[in-house]
Point group: C2
């Protein structure tokens, strides 16, 4: 490869424009921190993650430690989660801590959650104590719940404060608040002598624009919009998605079991979590089951992660082909059957996978509940019969014309009809059954389906052929 | 099914709790508009879309026309796009227009874009003229660009206005602005006598919190933060995603070719578009290629949409099995080969699909460019060799033990090694090649891959077996 070119800051013009990591490497070794920041700022959109991923480990560490911590944190945000985890693993805890300090509270919790417990502890110990305490608290919540998605950077005031208090606070912390994403400030109850536990309970919201038009001595309690909607820390992602579909809000306050305000979930965090879930789902579906894979990872990781799923599939396949082995006698008399076996089983897999896709999507959109098995079976059987008949005629005619044998055409045609119906119904039902068994449909539905449709396809072709053997071989 | 139960408002307590549409139907026929709103508000999270989808067309129309337009618009937001399009199709244009008036500008454009041209025109003609003009303007932009994703609900002022002007405007339009999602107001150039075209050009942003602390006679021009980042209307989704990864903003102003401010793209819109794209991608990958499918759609739609993909797959499969037909003589002498053919071809598909998944993901994350074919082929060949050798030994030993024939074991083992390597490399390269040919990898990669790996798998098994025929059959 071209990595052996002479390296130097002024040489970057002559480098191939499609290899920005070469110029980045040159800048890392020859440039100042300011030059590096300028270089990264001028990388074309979409090139940052690729350029960083193609650097070797030493250069990646050099890059992160050369940047100011807030710039390094922005870089960590840009690249993929797997890359970010890898990079943080390589850094000394103190350098890593300086970067994590600059991340948003939800990203802190996510990133620390993907690291080894020991590495995460080392970083937490070196972090700003307030940030570390906050990250520890957020780490307790499940990733797919309001607690796991919420941020703790939001404006809040007590209802016994005045407009002047609020304005002074806004002015004093203008710098910190400039990163906050709220049009509202949340209002909580102050500590009261008679009821200690009420302190921090959510009262309502204060519209910042109302502050513009109010007398300084007015109390927050007079301006607060009460009866604010809120969600519980345990609220699941799907329920949050529906909440934001139903309500045109940009964030929702999160309260714990005692009604105390603990964070804010923003619409964008919910959208991002949904996209991440779809991404993970799609990787699992295609047999990338042990977490995301990047080609810059070591060979052992990449090959090993894929192998487990392949070996499981070999085992399932051996089960399926035992049906063929059972009918070897029939094949010996009509060799042409061997030609059509892969066609019938493969088409069963195709028809079944379509039904799986529709079921999984309807489940995730909330249009279908796992107990509605009969409804799905009915809906799918009609589709299976329609498409099975059409495909059966197609394949039957192909078999007849090809081998000049109408009986062979009939065998493969009928087998195709029956197997398409089985595959469509089983495919539609599979995600519901797996969900009720608390298994992951993304992981198990595909391999299980093809095992079943292979077996049923082989069985239909070979059992019908065996019954008609005298006609077929004649 | 239980749809024949007596229906009445007071009967809803006895209905099955897992069939909320029964109670909804009762409320529709017996309740007032206010009762209906209350019923929908109290539906548990996640039940709204399902309940609506299970109503028949008449009741769906009744539901939308019974609700106040803003509530109907919120309902349209909650349900899936395909459902929303279906429902709008059923409504008279005037009723549809009242609802569309209440949607956000980006949702107006999306929804009208999915309707027939004629239906969309009828609705536009019945809409509020200003809203309609805005929707028409937005409809010109490509869905996957900043123009297609942007909203036009944002605060903007001219730089020759004063703080007092701004505050008066905020007060006068408090109601309208309450739906806006901006911490910033955007500042544009006023119309100037000497340069008409400069009017509306983006100058910078005005932080609302700065207004709190400024004298009323101060001019916006003195307070504006200049050098604001902006994106062009044609900016693609991936570039927008990277923009928001790089910059901790919640929205970015969108300018046209003349630098005039035309809209704002919010982070949440980009996240939502990414999730939608992943969803579409995953449906196509699983053979749902003609747009989303819901089981509440008519049978003809559901069966027909799936059929096109299945028929294409039958055609590809017939090509693949012609390899087996070519070697019928060999199978006639070693029937056991027929048992292993589906195993070898199926495992090739599995190994290839993993490589496809990694390539498509790296392409969409910007970690890989379509021209980096050699790099991918090298990276995948090492994985293919590792996993091919392990799977080959497994399958070879299984073949040997099962049929008590070491030569048979050698044939299927070696074929497995070779086919896994071919499948892994072809799978990794396929999305890059399709992308360069401007074909859709989601649609074509799977069927093309399995055709190739079926053919190569059959060929490896049968050609090696033919070469060793005397030993195998002995």
């Amino acid at each position: 490869m071209a990595d052996t070119e002479p390296v130097g800051a002024e040489g970057s013009e002559t480098r191939r424009p499609d290899r920005p990591w070469e110029a980045l490497r040159a800048c890392l070794h020859a440039g100042s921190s300011a030059e590096l920041v300028a270089f990264l700022d001028h990388l074309p959109a979409g090139e940052m993650a690729r350029a960083v991923s193609r650097l070797d480990a030493d250069d990646q560490v050099r890059l992160l430690t050369s940047l100011p911590p807030d710039q390094a944190a922005a870089l960590i945000d840009t690249i993929s989660d797997a890359q970010a985890t890898e990079l943080m693993d390589l850094l000394p805890a103190s350098e890593a801590a300086a970067i994590v300090n600059e991340l948003g509270s939800d990203e802190q919790a996510d990133l620390l959650g993907t690291l080894d417990q020991r590495d995460a502890e080392a970083i937490l110990a070196a972090m700003d104590p307030a940030e570390a305490a906050n990250a520890r608290r957020l780490a307790q919540y499940d990733a797919g719940t309001a607690g796991g998605l919420m941020i703790t950077e939001f404006l809040w005031f007590r209802d016994d404060q005045t407009v002047r208090d609020v304005l002074e606070d806004l002015r004093a912390h203008a710098d910190k608040y400039s990163k906050y994403d709220v049009q509202y400030a949340y209002v909580v109850r102050p500590a009261a002598a008679r009821d200690e536990s009420a302190a921090g309970q959510l009262v309502g919201v204060l519209r910042l624009r109302d502050l513009l038009l109010s007398a300084p001595q007015r109390r927050v309690a007079e301006m607060v919009v009460r009866q604010t909607l809120s969600v519980d820390v345990d609220t699941k992602l799907d329920a949050l998605a529906e909440f934001f579909d139903r309500h045109q809000f940009f964030g929702v306050p999160v309260v714990d079991a005692r009604g105390q305000l603990v964070g804010v979930v923003r619409r964008q965090d919910v959208e991002e979590a949904l996209a991440d879930r779809a991404d993970t789902y799609y990787l699992k579906l295609q047999g990338i089951v042990a977490g995301e894979e990047l080609r810059t990872m070591p060979l052992v990781t990449r090959a090993g992660r894929r192998l487990a799923w392949l070996v499981a599939n070999v085992a399932l396949n051996l089960v399926a082909i035992s049906v063929i082995a059972y009918y070897e006698e029939t094949i010996a008399q009509v060799i042409a059957l061997a030609v059509f076996l892969p066609l019938i089983s493969d088409m069963g897999g195709n028809a079944g996978v379509q039904a799986i896709a529709v079921s999984i999507r309807e489940l995730s959109l909330g249009l279908l509940k796992p107990h509605e098995l009969m409804w799905v079976a009915l809906k799918e059987s009609s589709v299976g019969i329609c498409n099975g008949l059409i495909l059966g005629v197609l394949v039957g005619v192909a078999g007849w014309l090809w081998q000049r044998n109408a009986y062979l055409g009939a065998v493969v045609g009928v087998a195709m009809v029956l197997n398409t119906i089985v595959a469509t119904v089983v495919g539609g039902a599979m995600p519901l059954v797996l969900k009720r068994l608390r298994l992951d449909p993304a992981l198990a539905a595909g391999p299980l389906l093809t095992t079943i449709t292979d077996m049923s396809g082989f069985f239909f072709v070979l059992s019908i052929a065996t019954a008609l053997l005298t006609r077929l071989a004649g």
